[in-house]
């Protein structure tokens, strides 16, 4: 059952991500991206990491996508078709990506991964303790740094987006 589910999800992810980077209608591209993100959260659920799956759904599916859609609406007509990329560029980019993919896959498949024998599902409580733990292996310091970063981003985004008036 899980195997089939994984393959379905994988197929969705690959198809929609290709669609997302090649669609000429920008709003559709955003929607495809949303599908991809949702499918990825499905993968998180499959590996019993439901907390991260939830975060993925809320932050990405809820936050980021909405942000992107808003910006699209601010700067585009909805019916606007994007410009066609020159074929030469597409071929070069495709070649580079394909080579990179090939070498990555080759590296992955030649590397002997030793799977762990035991299996433990990840509890939200564990993550919370880990994030806020200041003992051995605790992440309190990066956690704080991230929170400060988010604050800086909030302020910075406001300042940048506000910008200067053109007549100044």
């Amino acid at each position: 059952m899980e195997t089939i589910l994984f393959y379905i999800l994988s197929a969705l992810i690959v198809i929609f991500s290709i669609a997302s980077v090649s669609s000429r209608k920008i709003l559709r591209a955003v929607t495809y991206l949303l599908f991809v993100l949702i499918a990825i959260s499905g993968i998180y659920f499959l590996v019993d990491y439901s907390f991260l799956g939830a975060v993925q759904l809320t932050v990405y599916g809820g936050g980021v996508i909405v942000l992107i859609i808003f910006s699209v609406l601010l700067v585009h007509h909805i019916e606007l078709e994007l410009e066609v990329t020159p074929l030469k560029k597409k071929i070069i980019a495709g070649l580079i990506s394909a080579t990179g993919l090939g070498i990555t896959l080759w590296a992955i498949y030649t590397f002997p991964f030793t799977n762990a024998t035991t299996y433990k599902s990840i509890e939200v409580a564990d993550i919370g303790r880990k994030l806020l733990g200041y003992g051995d292996g605790g992440f309190i310091l990066p956690f704080e740094v991230i929170s400060v970063l988010l604050l800086a981003v909030i302020i910075g985004a406001i300042v940048i987006a506000k910008g200067k008036k053109l007549n100044e």
């Binding site: 899980e2 932050v59 994007l82 991964f113 993550i127 981003v153 909030i154």
Partner: protein
């Protein structure tokens, strides 16, 4: 761990997504769509963190924690990038990549 699926399959999936993102980053002509390609790349790496954590070192939580960090960073980055794009739109009335060539030689 997903029954019947080894780590190789999942890593293959994430690699594919990553390079689709790279391809999009190269080819897209619009800044917002470029940003979307970056989201794909970030997600691919987040999958990798989680999968390697679960499959190889289930006793530790580092991968899980880092994927949370990645999502936080991605959200922050998107917000900033969109702020920049909107400001740019105010300045040059366009969000096309070809209009941002001011750094040319």
């Amino acid at each position: 761990m997903i029954e019947g699926i080894s780590i190789y399959e999942i890593l293959t999936l994430s690699s594919i997504v990553f390079f689709i993102g790279v391809y999009g980053f190269f080819t897209r002509e619009n800044l917002i769509t470029v940003l979307m390609s970056i989201e794909l790349i970030l997600n691919a790496s987040a999958i990798n963190f989680v999968i390697i954590n679960t499959y190889l070192y289930p006793d530790f939580l580092q991968g899980a924690v880092f994927s949370i960090f990645i999502i936080a960073m991605a959200a922050a980055e998107t917000a900033l990038a969109i702020a920049i794009i909107i400001n740019l739109y105010k300045l040059v009335a366009s969000v096309e990549v070809k209009d941002t060539e001011r750094l040319k030689y």
